[in-house]
Symmetry: C2
Subunit: 196 residues, 2 copies
């Protein structure tokens, strides 16, 4: 399989982490989104939404949306709970990540790291909602080791991607002790070198 | 099962539609989100994210996030393709809906219908991205009857919710002939009375 991704994108890293964790052979093809690489005519043939990551399977079929990709790649593995309800709780986190976490925590990071904004330039509403997301994770991770219970699932893979680098978008996670503990646990469980 | 939802919310309607289509018994419990009904201490016990819809299963367990809920309720039914790749393409549309469609088309509608904004008050960037989403749907629906092929899936349920009322958020779908055709097809397939 080929992974078309931007190395700076947590959404793209999720896919690489799952391939590596499950020993699925993959070839990474760099797409520089800041230079318009996801809006070229060639790229839009792979994904008309103009977004990375996209995977091209060995038979040539394509799949986009990070959480849809990892859900497909991990089917039948221990990263998705066997129990239907627990799998649904995992899905609940995956959809929440894209609606209530990534648009604040990842977007603030993108603006500071890639667009050169300072902390004072960030939209205060985005910062507030980012902290609301961290507080909700803390609430869960104070009760359970991983987001859906005792075992690592795709919910952790997905939320780890931008939470581990939240400080690059001005978010201080020092006050979220369970989130900090979980970042280390999830990195170790996935075999990902620590971000900090 | 109990569905805690706001009748004005397309995200909540998705859950009701799936229950009705699959003849799953459900009791609807109204939550007035505009009056803060999703932020009360009682509600936050059901969903710490403070968002509707939430379902409470007959055994008391809860599940949130509209697309995670419908994915759970419809497991094993014809609304989810048997084929793993087609199910993944359905998931691609579900995640795309929450990231690239709902935040523009549903949010503009919410601002006009419930917050009393005029079309001129809308964020032009949100309007532009909403039309980009409609154009992407048109691109697909020009090729296939439903979003994942010849059969109705949860991708159609999810995208139908706000596309059918896009005009209430200033979006004109007259220029998107395949989207218009699909709205009628999906409403009929689901047994939902036409929105317009």
């Amino acid at each position: 399989m080929k992974i078309y991704g931007d190395r700076n994108s947590g959404n793209c890293q999720k896919v690489k982490w799952v391939c590596d964790a499950l020993a699925l052979p993959s070839t990474w093809i760099d797409v520089d989104t800041m230079a318009g690489g996801s809006r070229t005519p060639e790229f839009l043939k792979l994904n008309s939404a103009g977004q990375v990551p996209v995977v091209v399977l060995d038979d040539g079929r394509t799949l986009a949306q990070s959480n849809a990709i990892i859900r497909y790649l991990a089917r039948g593995s221990a990263l998705i709970p066997d129990d239907d309800y627990l799998a649904a709780k995992m899905d609940e986190w995956l959809f929440w990540e894209q609606y209530s976490h990534e648009p604040y925590i990842a977007v603030c990071r993108m603006q500071m790291v890639y667009l050169g904004k300072s902390q004072g330039d960030l939209d205060p509403e985005k910062v507030k909602r980012g902290y609301f997301a961290l507080a909700r994770m803390e609430h869960q991770l104070h009760q359970t080791r991983f987001l859906v219970g005792d075992e690592l699932t795709l919910a952790d893979v997905s939320l780890l991607a931008y939470t581990r680098v939240a400080h690059e978008g001005s978010f201080h996670i020092d006050g979220y002790a369970s989130v900090r503990r979980w970042v280390g646990d999830a990195e170790r469980a996935l075999g990902v070198p620590p971000a900090v």
